[in-house]
């Protein structure tokens, strides 16, 4: 855990304490369970997004992918009667294909990530709406899938299963990002793609892999969201979710320039965002202010972090100059 992560954790605890003091329902079991479920769904998105952002890219189509894949998933199992495990795998595969196409367009055809994924955002939303003829995809009355429902919306030991899934995914992806060869490549590419290429890294493949990971995690999240809402109107389902994911990663210390960030930070960023949502509800702040609160907090967070960095750099320079008065400058 980095210093940044620790700062974020402290902020989460302080905000939590303040909210609890004003409205003790914050710590009620039902509120915690609900919030942790949402943290899980958005957390999985943020982790996927983090893998793309670390390469210096961005994935804007997340919300639309959630609408499209969620719609398809419900359609597969509720209407077309595909067995749910098969549908589950199919949706993840589709997520991988979407990620691959994005990565391929970005690395091989040298398109900008922002442009590619912005087009994705528009295309998938449009396709989803067309697929249901702008109707709502949902389950028929009395239709149920006990195992699937348990895995996605159920609980074990009082914890939502989705949250347990997040913990497992976060641990695995933490190891991948912070300990594996692939993770090191991601960091190197994010820092300086050219130099990474000159070190013999197949940068194109690594970047494509990052988009595939994001696609698969987004697909997984899409299934969770579908099972959580149980009905999807593709015109609005998942709207702005990419921004939640990006915001969480940025709060967690990821630089949009690439090469910087910790996965713990991205998860904590998600926790903070959901806590703020929850705060708006619990403290009776008009929900129309929801986005404004979130935007304000992210801005302040990033500002404090940045100013702190400037302050430390200045202090270091002063120290160095004090030490170096007598000696020669070190190049």
């Amino acid at each position: 855990m980095t210093k940044k992560d620790l700062g974020l954790l402290i902020l989460i605890l302080v905000v939590g304490a303040v909210v609890t003091a004003i409205n003790p329902r914050f710590l009620s079991a039902i509120n915690l369970a609900n919030t942790s479920n949402l943290v899980a769904l958005f957390g999985i998105l943020s982790i996927g997004q983090a893998f793309v952002i670390i390469t210096g890219g961005i994935e804007l189509s997340v919300g639309s992918v959630i609408a499209l894949l969620g719609t398809l998933f419900i359609d597969f199992i509720a209407v077309r009667e595909v067995s749910w495990p098969l549908a589950f795998v199919l949706i993840l595969a589709l997520g991988a294909v979407i990620g691959f196409v994005h990565g391929w367009l970005i690395t091989r055809l040298k398109l900008q990530p922002f442009v590619v994924t912005l087009c994705g955002l528009l295309i998938y939303r449009g396709v989803a709406r067309f697929y249901t003829a702008d109707g709502t995809a949902g389950f028929a009355f009395g239709q149920n899938f006990p195992t699937l429902e348990f895995l996605t919306a159920g609980r074990s030991y009082g914890l939502p299963n989705s949250f347990i899934a997040l913990i497992v995914i976060a641990i695995v992806m933490w190891v991948v990002l912070h300990r594996s060869v692939f993770g090191r490549y991601l960091y190197a590419i994010g820092k300086n793609e050219e130099a990474a290429k000159y070190s013999g890294i197949r940068t194109g493949r690594v970047i494509i892999a990052a988009y595939v990971i994001c696609g698969v995690l987004t697909a997984l999240s899409a299934i969770y969201f579908a099972m959580y809402t149980r009905s999807i109107s593709p015109a609005s389902h998942g709207q702005f979710y990419e921004l939640y994911a990006i915001a969480a990663a940025v709060l967690g210390g990821f630089s949009l320039r690439g090469g910087e960030g910790s996965l713990v930070g991205a998860v904590l960023g998600t926790v903070l965002l959901q806590e703020l949502q929850n705060l708006v509800n619990l403290l009776g702040i008009p929900s129309s202010l929801n986005f404004a609160v979130m935007g304000g907090v992210i801005l302040i967070g990033v500002l404090v972090d940045q100013q702190w960095g400037v302050f430390r750099a200045r202090r270091r320079m002063l120290e160095a100059s004090r030490r170096g008065v007598a000696g020669a400058p070190a190049e």
Binding site: V175, R179, S180, V181, F182, G183, R184, Y185, Y187, A188, K191, N192, E194, A195, A196, K197, Y198, S199, G200, I201, R202, G259, A330, E331
Partner: protein, 535 residues
């Protein structure tokens, strides 16, 4: 440095004294005993020259001879330590940028300063656009065109004022720059290597523009490595060497050999010639057959690199050396031709392929492509060979540190620890990190592009030692260098490139600065034996 200087008698038209009787017109610009030092270096010393109205001066000298310092003084960017600069009769200790511009000195640099997204007229009058009356401050396009037309005519432009700059050829863009200079009533236009990136036909156009300027009474200082162009347009040639005036050639004495002689200014040194006993040449490690790069798509390059040798690759900046290295290392696409490693055809489609085959590159731009400044020494060294430092795809910090410690010791990398960020190291130590990452993985072919640029003397010697040790261990070493002494002192053979092609290969007996320079400008070298390798 102990080299014998050529007799100073080559100063035909001596410009070092003002009591010369020849000036028919007052000089527009004259420099007198100008001296400029930087910490540890005398960049310019006892330098005097003058430029008369309508005169074309060719300014030549090797890299580092002091040309850029001279340009900075004329542009008002730096002040000389001593000496006087007289412009238009007014003597100064040094110019300010405002004085330089105000007196009509204009520069056209090798890298053009144009807005490619704007049209020609907008570029020429950028920031000085004629405005229409009214509060909106709209640009008066009609007036602008009216003002631009005569300027374009004066440079002989064959394009219109509203052509986007991006659609123009390089020579045309240079014409725009020159027109811009004329628009501020330039009286002296300084062209800094304007032709180095131009193809033949374009060069012709530019030389015509220079003649046109001269006819209009505007003085020109033309800096170029391409001596035949100087021969054609210059009225007088000023040769710089090691920061001093090596000589001035009047029009009647401008010829290629004379310029080269003045530029080098010394006879061969024994060390350069004899060197060590010739090594037994090893088998051919890397061979390139008629490969073409995207910079010079019409020039095939063939080259053989033997085991155990250091092949120096000399040539002027822009002659295609770096491009060749980038193709061999798989960074750039190979347009045609074939490459073989140990006699077997090799298809290098990416740097990863090259690395997998033991072909490594120490690139020219250390900070941008050589190392990752934000990573530690250890992380930089393990990067190209990370799977070998991992167990089940997880990086083993222990293995990484062990390799790094070993390389740090072997190469004498000076740093507090292998966990130090490479961005905080000195240039020499950064370069050692670049070398270390490759040395840790058994190179077969090592390509070094300007390996000692910007590195202090001590580290230089160490890097030469490392290169020699590599060669002795059977590695084929290709060293690209613009440093003449380095090429001659370190190489076993020297290949010289000129405008995208290998213009000749020198064996040890024929090593001399003169021969290298002759080949670099596309002339025949003076070989001791006819058995020399020049084509």
């Amino acid at each position: 440095m102990g080299h014998r200087l050529l007799p100073r008698a080559v100063n035909y038209g001596v410009m070092t004294s003002t009591d010369s009787t020849q000036p028919t017109t007052a000089p527009f610009l004259s420099l007198e005993a100008v001296r400029k030092t930087y910490p540890g270096v005398v960049a310019l010393d006892r330098f005097s020259m003058e430029v008369r109205p309508g005169e074309v001066i060719g300014l030549v000298g090797e890299n580092g001879a002091g040309k850029s310092t001279l340009m900075k003084i004329l542009g008002g960017v730096t002040r000389p330590d001593s000496g006087t600069v007289t412009v238009d009769g007014a003597a100064h200790d040094g110019l300010t940028v405002e004085q330089s511009i105000g007196s009509g000195i204009a520069f056209v640099h090798q890298e053009l300063n144009l807005f490619e997204n704007l049209d020609v007229a907008a570029n020429i009058f950028f920031g000085r656009e004629p405005l229409r009356a009214g509060p909106l401050r709209l640009v008066d396009r009609a007036k602008l065109r009216e003002m631009v037309a005569p300027l374009l005519k004066r440079v002989g432009a064959n394009f219109s004022a509203d052509a986007p700059v991006a659609s123009l050829s390089l020579a045309q863009q240079q014409m725009v720059e020159i027109a811009k200079a004329l628009s501020i009533k330039a009286r002296l236009v300084i062209l800094d290597e304007p032709t180095s990136s131009l193809p033949m036909a374009e060069t012709e156009k530019l030389l015509d523009v220079i003649k046109g300027l001269k006819a209009q009474g505007i003085s020109v200082i033309f800096i170029s490595h391409r001596l035949h162009e100087i021969e054609r347009v210059a009225d007088r040639v000023v040769v710089l060497r090691d920061g001093t005036l090596a000589g001035t050639l009047p029009k009647s004495h401008i010829n290629h050999d004379e310029m080269v002689r003045l530029m080098i200014g010394r006879m061969l040194k024994e060390r350069e010639k004899a060197g060590e006993a010739a090594r037994a040449p090893g088998s051919v490690a890397l061979s390139a057959d008629a490969i073409r790069t995207s910079t010079y798509p019409d020039r095939p390059v063939s080259l053989e690199l033997k085991r155990g040798e250091i092949l120096g690759l000399a040539g002027l900046v822009g002659s295609g050396r770096t491009e060749l290295a980038r193709v061999l290392f798989g960074i750039d696409e190979r347009l045609a031709g074939s490459v073989a490693l140990d006699g077997k055809p090799l298809n290098v489609g990416s740097a990863a392929d090259a690395v997998a085959n033991g072909i490594f590159l120490v690139p020219e731009d250390r900070k941008l492509t050589g190392i990752l400044l934000d990573l530690s020494i250890a992380q930089n060294i393990s990067l190209p060979n990370l799977p070998a430092h991992a167990r089940r795809s997880l990086v083993s910090a222990g293995a990484e540190l062990a390799t790094a410690e070993k390389q740090k010791k072997n190469l004498g990398i000076k740093a507090p620890s292998v966990l130090t960020r490479t961005g905080t190291l000195s240039g020499g130590n950064q370069q050692k990190v670049v070398l270390a990452k490759w040395l840790a993985m058994n190179p077969k072919v090592m390509i070094l592009d300007e390996p000692t640029r910007g590195i202090d003397i001590g580290a230089k010697a160490e890097i030469y030692g490392l290169m020699r040790a590599l060669a002795d261990a059977g590695v084929a070493v290709l060293m690209i260098s613009s440093d003449m002494e380095e090429v001659i002192g370190v190489s076993d053979r020297i290949a010289v490139m000129h405008e995208g092609q290998i213009s000749g290969i020198l064996d040890k007996d024929d090593f001399s600065q003169e021969n290298v320079l002759l080949l670099a400008v596309g002339k025949k070298p003076k070989l001791l034996q006819t058995a020399g390798g020049a084509q």
